[in-house]
Symmetry: C2
Subunit: 357 residues, 2 copies
């Protein structure tokens, strides 16, 4: 890992003293930015993912425009199933679609065991290029979907309300679900390791659909595999962030997964979570993304509420409680970043201006 | 309130001793039943809601077919905004749509203050007819959406992923949101009171969208109005059930709302909730609705897990953690009801066969 100039994010992940709370925003490289839309108008989404120059360009945009404390590589969690042989179509109005979802053992057998250094080389090239262009200004985060979240998409084939197909699978053929989850865990661990090897300073695992499971099913079908992935990721010092949306019930267990940082959605209370799980991990979050529809004064108030809710000390990375919505005005986001920078210093008293590890 | 012959549900709501745990199922009068679909083929959904004979017929079907311990009046939460003057269209593939959603003060002014005895007389007639036809076999539950959940539909106008419009309203014009919520609270209280007066033995308030709010917003925009509704419902002895989906954080506060029963979704743990809030209210729930996709042996296992999770004693009403899905096989549901009846007696030791109030 090269040493980025702004290391607030990495320090906060490790619960080391920081002079102010760092901030980045889930989906910060996205449609709410006119600069992103200008690129997107010329290229389709997958082309952007697969062209390192384009991926690097939109990855760096929010660093330049918003002044966030970390970049997150522009990509999509579904590049993994695509590389494993599933035909992926991204339909603007409907979201991602796999026309031949995985529903049987025969379907599952067709999934290729991939080597990220080959089949996902475009991502690693994008990491290298982005790191070069960032030139150490801020750390670069790589990410992956969790095994469970990828399985959900692969089995449903498209957006779902009730997740009937993947639920049918775990209840009627749990062995099949486990065999795919095992295969995915290995691929994801290799993928995140390769990203770190290519230069990513931290990685985040998104478990977008962990929260549709009951507590025991979450343990069996999601958390176990997140833990497996983390144990297999080859890293030196690079922090791992896990964000499970809606998993209000699994936070204590998540702290035993080996993650350095737990991401929280906006229905959680940072103070309560911190008091429950102690300072064993750092916390990331958790402003309601729709607060960015509010006037700036209200955004300021809610920003301070989130900072106050975590309270004093290091171990907090400011973020939204879910991805930024595409119709948010960039000015509001800039204001949010400014407020975090201005208002968070008081939560880190007695920390010297220069605080290198 | 007439005294139903099977009073297990009412007794459990009041945390009185019962010889076994009662069960009913959210959306039990619904599309998964061929007998329901046979009626639905001949009449559209709103006609069914507005024709007391049809509403009574499908309300009673699950009592006859499944042997559940309570009936819930077939209706829709959106009959209230419709009666207040909003044109409602139920589109099979898209769900309910208001073509002219409420977005401004001028829109809100057009909402009529209604008298349920007049504008919603068809519901009250359906209650009376159903009660007569049930002939005291099981209690009849009436229901309403919560003020917040109705506001969400009225402002969004249709199904939503991010609830951007209603969130814009609460953050940019909270006074407008509060004024509509106040108006809705009065109407809902009148409506539930009228249902009780017409013969409903209990009522349930559905807060389907409480869980999209942050903790403080839930308190301000949902819980306050649920509490207001409950305080205004004219009742003697009839229990009030409140079901807030996804509101894992507000359970202790909900027990102070005046509700007799708190419904829980399938991500909660009954044992934990019971130990946290004590025996001040009864609990309803919370089998994952998708468990009904599983083989019957697995359904039995999970049914016992839910019963065991609540543990011994009264104050538990078995239900799913959300509405039953339309593609569930009726045989699975019958098995579920049978398992609850067979397996729950051991959780109520020393209760005599006859246990009238």
């Amino acid at each position: 890992m090269s040493n980025p100039k702004n290391d607030l994010f990495i320090r906060a992940c490790k619960r080391l003293p920081v002079k102010r709370t760092p901030i980045w925003i889930m989906r910060q490289a996205g449609r709410y930015l006119p600069e992103y839309r200008a690129v997107r108008e010329k290229y389709d989404f997958l082309t952007m993912c697969k062209t390192p120059e384009l991926a690097a360009k939109v990855t760096i945009q929010p660093v330049d425009i918003l002044g966030v404390d970390a970049a997150i590589l522009f990509s999509d969690i579904l590049v993994i199933p695509e590389a494993m042989g599933m035909h992926l179509e991204l339909i603007e109005s409907k979201g991602p679609v796999f026309h031949q979802p995985i529903r049987s053992e025969d379907d599952a057998k067709k999934l290729k065991r991939i080597d990220p250094d080959k089949e996902l080389k475009f991502v690693l090239d994008a990491v290298e290029l982005t790191k070069k262009e960032l030139n150490g200004r801020v750390p670069l985060i790589g990410f992956s979907g969790s095994p469970w979240t990828l399985l959900t998409y692969m089995v449903e084939g498209k957006g779902s309300k009730n997740f009937s197909n993947v639920k049918r699978m775990i209840y009627n053929d749990p062995a099949l679900a486990h065999s795919i989850l095992n295969k995915l865990s290995d691929v994801i661990a290799d993928y995140l390791s390769a990203k770190i090897c290519a230069g990513a300073d931290a990685v985040q695992i998104f478990d977008t659909w962990g929260g549709i499971l009951s507590q025991s099913d979450f343990q069996e079908f999601s958390l176990n595999y997140i833990t497996k992935v983390i144990s297999q990721v080859k890293r030196k010092d690079e922090p791992i962030v896990v964000f499970c949306k809606g998993v209000h019930f699994g936070l204590v267990q998540l702290t035993n997964s080996g993650a350095d940082v737990i991401g929280l959605d906006w229905t959680m209370n940072l103070e309560e979570v911190r008091s429950k799980i102690g300072d064993r991990v750092a916390l990331q979050g958790n402003l309601d993304p729709t607060v960015l529809y509010a006037p700036v004064e209200k955004i300021k108030e809610e920003t301070v509420n989130v900072l106050r809710s975590f309270g004093k000390g290091s171990g907090h990375i400011f973020n939204l409680g879910h991805g930024i919505l595409p119709d948010i005005e960039p000015e509001k986001v800039k204001a949010l970043v400014r407020f975090v920078k201005e208002k968070s210093a008081v939560f880190h008293p007695n920390v010297p201006e220069t605080q290198k590890v």
